[in-house]
Symmetry: C2
Subunit: 251 residues, 2 copies
DNA sequence: CTTCCCATTTTCGTATAGGATTTCGCTGAT
DNA sequence: ATCAGCGAAATCCTATACGAAAATGGGAAG
């Protein structure tokens, strides 16, 4: 009933542009706008029932974010999936700054930070009760929030910005989605999804990612900087192994 | 009728939006739009003789860059000068990734890269013949190009993006400009500008920055990775010392 | 002096028109 | 059959006018 009250009644508290930015970003996230797909401004404006202005503004921002590519006089299109090299570059960068962030977070850890870490771990645990499809989304979002939280707790705003600027979780989720779709169509080399769930997120014995998150959080809470550093390093390398089958399968 | 013939004559190869983006960025760079100053879209459109559309698009991109702040329903304004904390955060980040970049650049150095390094050093040397005011600008631009070049030569696109995303040279130049203006007005604590020129860029004996650039370039060309790493580290620390008097003087 | 209210200003979004450029399909010639 | 060249449609890019909503500023009342 409340679906488009935005347009008429409510005294807008945020700006339409920002809302549209989020909507388009979400469309990219879940392949409603597929990687590489051309984005027609008129069509998008029509679909979202807004004018060109907020669309163009959003696309400009998304281009700065590296999520949209702009070709002069040819229009906008969603960026392609990560290539092997881009994937490697991304994780090389993460290995450079995230263990450092965890180390710093541990050094200056306080009760307030500890509480936020515990709350986030609890959310992750709760989401394990969801069904498979919702669960993956929920865990991806948890993963994003967890890593961003640690970059915040590093205390260094430039590092946090740089990390968020990679939009790594969006790229990785797109990679996962593509692998999944690819597999459903081809019914071949079908172990990736299973492996991913079993080892990285879901299985009873595994839940590797969540387990590592707990270890990292504890190390930070107990101000064990070098341990936080090394587990984060290990965790990211595990993430590389989990996702890398999804790369290279493309293109 | 003759005022906007730009629109007619040239078979535009780039787009007005992009051009305007550069113009506004330059205005921020040299304090034509002062730190913290409110930016009126109508006024800017009138001044640049273009419509709202490219202005809004540029401001949206500049906001993503962290150079413009947007307050919903209040409009855009230029970001303030770096605070002490922001300054420290920025350089902590640079110390994290730039020595690493130099190391990587050295490891995979080739003739092509060597030639680009030599060309950039030559440009810097040539600019020493300019008068003082032009020289500072030229050397700032050289410094930006040199550091960006090395981040490119690291071979890691994510790292390069993250580095450029800091816009550190723009921020540092604004800091310098503010200190200079402040000093001209107050005629007090007047040694900063002199010190800066003498030790960091200009003096016959000094030219510390350029000298360090040469050393870094040589280390990279000779594929001495650990040396490239350590000199870059030293160089950035020298930069901290050179600029830090300009911080904290503000606000 | 403080608080409230109203008018002006500014921002934000819409709608529309038209020029510029690319894309694509068609025709025709080799 | 292939390819060059032409033209029309689609799309992008910019300009402009207008209206709604919020912020701002100033003055009157308490």
């Amino acid at each position: 009933m409340t679906d488009n009250r935005r347009l008429k009644r409510t005294p807008r508290q945020s700006v339409l542009s920002d809302e549209i930015y989020g909507v388009i970003k979400a469309k990219i996230f879940d392949h409603e706008i597929a990687p590489g797909q051309h984005v027609n401004i008129d069509a998008l404006a029509l679909q979202l029932n807004v004018s060109h202005t907020p669309i163009r503004e959003s696309l400009a921002r998304l281009e700065s974010d590296g999520l949209i590519r702009k070709e002069p006089l040819k229009g906008y299109s969603a960026t392609n999936l990560l290539t092997m090299k881009e994937f490697n570059d991304l994780f090389e960068f993460r290995l450079l700054i995230e263990p450092w962030s965890a180390q710093r977070a541990a050094r200056s850890s306080d009760d307030f930070g500890a509480e936020k870490l515990r709350a986030e771990l609890k959310r992750a645990h709760d989401s394990l009760r969801l069904n498979a499809s919702e669960q993956l989304l929920a865990l991806t979002e948890h993963d994003a929030r967890f890593h961003i939280l640690i970059s915040e707790m590093s205390g260094n705003e430039t590092v946090r910005r740089a990390f968020e600027g990679t939009h790594c979780h969006l790229h990785l989720y797109r990679l996962f989605l593509a692998a999944k779709n690819n597999q459903l169509a081809a019914e071949t080399r079908s172990t990736f999804i299973q492996d991913f769930f079993d080892h990285y997120y879901q299985s009873e014995s595994g839940q590797l990612a969540l387990q590592q998150h707990e270890e990292i959080a504890h190390a930070i809470i107990e101000q064990n900087a070098s341990l936080a550093h090394s587990i984060m390093h290990t965790h990211i390398e595990a993430s590389i192994r989990a996702y890398s089958p999804a790369v290279g399968a493309e293109r």
